[in-house]
């Protein structure tokens, strides 16, 4: 599993390659919070290369969403495959997040 971050315009894009689970979710959280502390406000997490997410991974996304909103920012999610979308629907987190089918649509939604 790796997380890679890059900027596109004023949006910080995070690619999750592999799983987002209990063993690595703190790394994702810290890296996004570090960018938030530096003043970044628009975040896009792209799941195109993600295998699966567990409840800890979902929890970190919930926590980050709240912290980013508290700072006046926004978090978008993109490229959830059918399995990942099922997880969001089962937990009703699809009602909490802005989820786009593609990275481009997510970028356009800010």
């Amino acid at each position: 599993m790796t997380f890679s971050m890059r900027k596109q315009g004023d949006v910080t894009i995070v690619d999750v390659d592999g799983q987002l689970i209990v063993g690595n979710r703190q790394e994702l959280k810290q890296r996004v919070l570090d960018e938030l502390d530096k003043g970044e406000r628009k975040f896009l997490v792209d799941f195109e290369k993600t295998g699966y997410i567990d409840s800890s991974g979902l929890g970190v996304l919930v926590s980050l969403s709240k912290k980013i909103r508290e700072q006046g920012g926004a978090l978008r999610l993109a490229n959830l495959n059918d399995d990942l979308r099922t997880l969001f629907e089962l937990t009703k987190l699809d009602t909490l997040f802005d989820i786009a089918d593609t990275r481009q649509r997510a970028l356009e939604s800010f």
């Binding site: 689970i21 209990v22 063993g23 699966y52 567990d54 409840s55 399995d83 997880l87 089962l90 937990t91």
Partner: protein
């Protein structure tokens, strides 16, 4: 047909991904329901292992977590054993989909295990045992 796999790991979450990979590899090629090996087993097993390590064994690396996977003609059964005192499944299982719970960071693990598997049981057997069953048909 009966395929069995038994693994034992220290109580450290860094071992979870390897165990999940071993179990799904063991089941590859078997006729299982759709999404069994891409969603249902990986997520449910990750949750059970995380609970066993974090809450059952309190992340004490001297304590072990044992995993048993058995595939019969009827079902895939996954058992996760830890050395903790166990828990009341009925009381711990919460509906994380209600609006008040949706913005919480925690509280979705058991819910997902129950939602993704056909049967979720807990028992005590010299420790705590979580048993998850997914029927093949």
């Amino acid at each position: 047909m009966r395929v069995a796999l038994e693994l034992e790991i220290p109580s450290d979450v860094c071992h979870i991904e390897h165990v999940v990979s071993e179990v799904t590899a063991c089941c590859a090629g078997l006729a299982l329901p759709p999404r069994a090996l891409t969603l249902r087993v990986p997520v449910a097993l990750t949750e059970a292992l995380a609970n066993a390590i974090r809450y059952g064994n309190r992340a004490d690396v001297s304590k072990r977590v044992r995993v048993r996977a058995v595939v019969s003609d009827v079902a895939l059964v996954l058992e996760v054993h830890d050395e903790g005192p166990g828990f009341d499944l009925g009381r711990c299982l919460r509906d994380c989909t209600v609006p008040a719970a949706r913005e919480r960071e925690d509280g979705r693990g058991l819910f997902l295990m129950q939602a993704l598997m056909d049967r979720l049981e807990h028992s005590a057997d010299g420790g705590s045992v979580v048993r998850m069953t997914m029927f093949r048909a």
